[in-house]
Amino acid sequence: MLTKNTEIKSPRNTYGDTLVELGTKNPNIVVLDADLSCSTQTVKFKKVFPERFFNCGIAEQDMMTTAAGLAYCGKIVFASTFAMFATARCLDQIRNTICYSKLNVKIVATHGGITVGEDGASHQALEDISFMRSIPDIKVIVPADCSEVKQVIEYAANTPGPMYIRIPRTNLTNIFDENKYKFNPETPLKLKDGKDLTIVSNGETLIEVLNAAEKLKEVGIEADILHYPVVKPFHHNLLKESAIKTKKVVVVENHSVIGGLGSAVCESLCQYAPSKVYRIGTKDTFGQSGEQRELMDFYGLSDKKLYEKILKFMDVK
């Protein structure tokens, strides 16, 4: 399932290309953006299907409720902007109009996480998963590489109901063999088998976890690596089985440690398999400007920092 071809690709390009493919097959697909179509790459869809593309301008709340109206009439609606503006600014519209009416709106947000980089804290969505996860009846998905982005977008187009799909600004290293990997919303994945600890991740931190785990293996620490692209609805079994075996769980995400995957893991474990859990993400803090790799290091999310942090965690009895 994993690939040896570590090519680096833009998930936003993948998103735009996939929209065009889907739009060709299905005339019901419409796409909305809020003046960021060149960043989110919904512009690709606009070029091919201008009549099914609506630029709502710098008015994200209007975009979300307009998307709701289109979806109410049977359209499959993709609405995109940066994760910061797609969630926090439109929370009421998403909750009270899209989700309460269970409308078929796919919010595909780019620029999730600290790796927005130089734009700094105002643009770094570190709470978006937390916001979305708290709303009933919305699926929350954080794909980890471009082959998964493509499949998640296809899944979204073919599955009714509200979804929040988070894509980073950064290019992503290939993780999955696109010919063998099949995204399944019902089953999280075990990517590596270990006995000493469980590491749970998704999104762009997954590759960091895989790299850190290689180094941990060199010092004799073997980890179960679990990929949870679907944060909500949360699937408990794989995590439960792994935690019962290893009794130590580390969660790594490009998001605040409050309310995201780390919280979802803790909520699950406290019910099904109480375990020691170490949540690695941004602390209860705002981000700041910086180069992407520098920021990953600074906030302890790079493979190197993860290795150091997990080593420390493993020493704690």
Binding site: G57, Q61, G69
Partner: protein, 267 residues
């Protein structure tokens, strides 16, 4: 029509009295408009999604969802659902939620509303979808004047104009009052007509309790190819003397005596 709207007003008050909560003021201010809409203007099948004409129906969105009792009363009295359901308003398990809910699966209710400032955008999305599908129905949306203070309303006014929607009609129930008092004192909207015109709308001012004026404005707007905003000047609490022009009746239920007095006025 007067007999019909009196019946609607009585139902509204009974619902709110029975539930011991609700929003009489804004329901009574817009109920005449809703009565004319459903009796004379909208082409919506009473058997709702069972009708072969369901997809080509006109759409009505009650953006000021707190006036739900007005919508429920009109729908029930027009035969969309069993009138006895009105007794369940705001009661656990009822289809008649405090604010209209599409989850409740109640014939005649389109999308959920209640959080102000969203109905117009929803209507714009519906209008866009109808245009894409070449369906010649009209989308009517009713907003409160206080609701116009929500910034999101102006975002969607801009969008409606930009998209040159000729299948959308906006009605503003201008009852001049909101929870904290007079709209002019809380945060003035004036000059509302000029603002709407600057946003690309043709505006029509009517007496929102004069059936002829309401009908004429709605029918003309329905035929018009120009974006129209109907500003309906209304009286909050209209029809019940002690509720009229009194902001304190925005969200309060009448007690037994008050209900009796109100029904006596209306019958």
């Amino acid at each position: 029509m007067k007999t019909f709207t009196n019946k609607l007003r009585c139902d509204i008050l009974k619902m709110i009295h029975n539930a011991k909560s609700g929003h009489p003021g804004g329901a009574l201010s817009c109920v005449d408009i809703l009565a004319v809409l459903y009796k004379k203007v909208l082409n919506i099948p009473k058997d709702w999604d069972k009708s072969p004409d369901f997809n080509t129906r006109d759409r009505f969105i009650l953006s000021k969802g707190h006036a739900s009792t007005a919508l429920y009363a009109v729908l029930a009295n027009c035969g969309f659902f069993d009138i006895n359901l009105l007794n369940g308003f705001r009661i656990l398990g009822s289809k008649l939620q405090g604010h209209p809910s599409s989850r409740a699966n109640l014939a005649g209710v389109e999308v959920s509303t209640g959080s102000l400032g969203q109905g117009l955008s929803i209507a714009v999305g519906i209008a866009l979808a109808l245009r894409l599908d070449n369906i010649n129905s009209k989308v009517f949306v009713l907003l409160g004047d206080g609701e116009m203070q929500e910034g999101s309303v102006w975002e969607s006014l801009m969008n409606a104009n930009h998209q040159k929607l000729d299948n959308l009609v906006i009605i503003i129930d201008k009852n001049h009052l909101q929870i904290d008092g007079a709209t002019d004192e809380v945060k003035t909207l004036e000059p509302l007509d000029k603002k709407l015109e600057a946003f690309g709308f043709k505006t029509v001012q009517i007496d929102g309790h004069n059936y002829n004026e309401i009908e004429k404005a709605l029918i003309e707007a329905k035929k018009s190819k120009k974006l129209t905003a109907i500003i309906a000047n209304t009286i909050k609490g209209k029809g019940v003397s002690f509720m009229e022009n009194n902001a304190s009746w925005h969200g309060k239920a009448p007690n037994d005596e008050q209900l009796k007095a109100a029904l006596e006025e209306l019958c």
